[in-house]
Amino acid sequence: MPKDHGIGASSKRREDVRFLTGEGNYTDDINVNGQAYVYFLRSDIAHGTLNSVDTSAADGMEGVVKIFTGADFEAVGSVPCGWQVTDKHGEVMQEPRHPVLAHGKVRHVGEPIAAVVAETLEQARDAAEAIVLDITHLPAVVDMKEAVKEGAPKVHDDLTSNLCYDWGFVEENKAAVDAAFEEAHHVTTLELVNNRLVANPMEPRVAVGDFARGTGDHTLYTTSQNPHVIRLLMGAFVLGIPEHKLRVVAPDVGGGFGTKIFHYQEEAFVTYAAKVCNRAVKWTSSRSEAFMSDAHGRDHVTKIQLALDKDNNFTALRTDTYANMGAYLSTFAPSVPTWLHGTLMAGNYKTPLIYVNVKAVFTNTVPVDAYRGAGRPEATYQLERLVDKAAHELKVDPIKLRRQNFIMEFPYATPVAVEYDTGDYVATMDKLEEMADIAGFKKRREDSEAKGKLRGFGVNCYIEACGIAPSNLVGQLGARAGLFESCTVRVNATGGLVVMTGSHSHGQGHETSFAQVVADMIGIPEDMVEIVHGDTANTPMGMGTYGSRSLAVGGSAMVKATEKIIAKATKIASHLLEASEGDVELKDGAFTVAGTDKSVAWGDVTLAAYVPHNYPLEEIEPGLEETAFYDPSNFTYPSGAYACEVELDPETGQVTVERFSAADDFGNIVNPMIVTGQVHGGLAQGIGQALLENCAYDSDGQLLSASYMDYAMPRASDLPFYDVDHSCQTPCTHNPLGVKGCGEAGAIGSPPAVVNAVLDAMRSGGKDVGHIDMPVSPHRVWEAMNS
């Protein structure tokens, strides 16, 4: 029987009541008395020399408080990059300056040039229209392979070229990998594009800067997944504000998907302008601005090859990827195509030799950074498309070829520097085959064909690395931050708890699932536990939420802090019970002396901690509040197997997803309902990438898909009823909860299954095109079918 509370129960998401009844407190809901509004004048050309910004006609317009240009930020720091990659020659990457407002040049459509602060947003916008720009157009670089050619226009004049870095991994293996290809019985080669995406969280970005002249305290309210990271990056590197004079608040946040990890110019601007203008300054992104200023995702162009021996064993893998950085380095951009991508290239397979080359390239486009999965979807897509292609070339069953090459023993050290602690890829594939009703496919295909449609079936496996860690390792890899997590547990006198976590919830349901863990550990109702997050003023220094790290890392810190609470409470209880500490145990919210009926309730112990009349004051301090920091010893490695069944209309090229099955191994699970929801959301984004979403630029660097008129988001009607299972569980061996992370799996694991299924459908219609790029739009399918 399913549990009805605590770890393992599908407790209802307590936060949804306020979200669904309009009672959420989002950043745009925050209004500071006397606030002014800023409108950013953004570049509408991709590349040009900014000769002058003439604000003279705008300065005196009604309502204008102050107009800022790049010149006002010359003395201010550059928007920093949080990860430095070292290339295959041992050189550090090229790192351009990233100004708050463009100065000297504009480098992408959407780059802010001037900022008008006015009494109302409309007045700010009116004044912005009166600003006269003198820009000399320069040829734009958009295509990555063109951008790295000799003589290509340079995005940054002070860099040697548009090549940010040329990364080889593992460089020492390269010769052995090449030698294995020489000896291969069969080589499968695939060239593909991982399409650029716009994250499109439902809530656009918002930032409100405030400054208290009396105390010199700055406050930034912002739509962030990691307020402490913003405080550190903006305070230390951009504005020079010490952390004790800067508070960053990220209240309810309506979806992040990675794009709200990063520190953006607009945050620095409102914080800075609030002090200059001596009043709060608010910016709310329009949806149009979001398309051209939120960091984009993916955008890799890859050639990948697999070598196999005569028995179809994988013997070597090599890849060449061009990764688009856009015009500037967003906060974690350099890490995505390298350490979050190259390290995943082994996938679920025991390929002994792997070499990954990545060229990161500057172009006149919006910066690209982590988006749900970040590097891992790119790795999975290449590998799982390649394995499928190999199976068809070799005329073997794609599932059989996968099974034959599965890693079977754990822990397993890959040739790309990571060690998988646990997994059972056979179990998830067995489960998937059962869910997908492969036996019934033939009949379903016949039914489709009777309607004039084609039907295809595709599978893929995936492995991901979550809970990025440990700090000392990522430091060696170039991270300019630690990747621990923190938690303070404060027990109140009457027994309720406030859990202050460095993790941040922007849809994940932490307020519910974190409370389940703590309540379960103590044996009290979940509603006695309050989860607090998102404010640097009342949470310990934490690294925030991304990379499916919250429960595995943040949850572990919470468990550690709660264990400290229990240890201290046990001491107090043993005093009250006049028993030896070793004989006292906590169960169901009461401390009991083993083997007796003597017990003291949780609330009596917590009261004693704050009303220490009968209390061992000479041994322990009063109060019941503990903090813990947790730095994991390894990543976690969720894995799974996915299957997709599509129907294809050969006359129009329209593809519809008819069935989708997902068998995941997330280790232990705290709230199955929330996990299912996370997988559902991830699948929608993965299927969206595979079939619909396409962030496209023309050769002049104009964004063609700059609104929902041209950028296709997945809708409910585009998606089937998913079949989701997470009963295969190999717990993580190195965190206290044995959890692995589930937030990104759906987005990582679904695109290859969809594309594999589309290609299978096309083959059944007599057309074997080898590969088709995402998004697999009707137009592309029709062209491929008729090529």
Binding site: E122, R125, E129, S288, E651, T652, G653, Q654, L691, L692, N694, A696, L704, S705, Y708, M709, D710, Y711, A712, M713, S777, P778, H779, W782, E783
Partner: protein, 262 residues
Amino acid sequence: MYNFDVEMPTSIADAVKALGREEAQPMSGGQTLIPTLKARLAAPSVLVSLHSIPEMKGVCKNDAGDICIGGATTHATVAAEAVDYPALASLAARIGDPAVRNRGTIGGSVANNDPSACYPAGVLGSGATIVTNNREIAADDYFLGMFETALEEGEIVTEVKFPIPEVAHYEKHLQPASRFPLVAVFVAKFADGVRVAITGASENGVFRWTEAENALSGNFSASALDGLSLSGDKMISDLHGSGKYRAHLCGVMAKRAVAAAS
């Protein structure tokens, strides 16, 4: 959005008078105009709302048996009330989403003449008559090109009159992002012949495929269209489909429309 005055006339006569003001702009459901205003791509000084004019609302039948739809009638109302012309009701029921259908109007759609809108195909394909505050215009004379119509400055579409065909059907292939038609075909079979109107495809907006009409007038079956094709040369080519693809879809959608109608 720039500032503007709003007038809410309650009669066609008052609306026409209000539109005489300098830089006045009529607004029906506003489903195109409001986003345009928000993007500051239009700057009327007066917005004349046609929303509160009772004589421009509703669906009825005239003595000649035509379905008459007031210019300010919403798509949702047409979907629910044009029961005597099911193909037209079905077209209205599939425009946009519920919010659009409850605000957008037939008059607004026909006056705007978006090259990818649904109603122009229904109006042209039915051989309907556009009634304005001072004349009646045959559909064949009304649609002049992308966003261009025979309407003059200050002229309002007060009603559209549809003759009811023997059978008809509207078949559309959606543009995946906007969900406007990438290509959609309205086929209507009358006693005296067949009309085929296509939206979404041409750079010149909605048009009649006369070759298909001739073939279908002799033999109203999908197979009558075998071998017929349109050139992709003057068709819209964008992220979502080349002119060639759109031309191909014209044939596919036309056949499906005929099959569904017959």
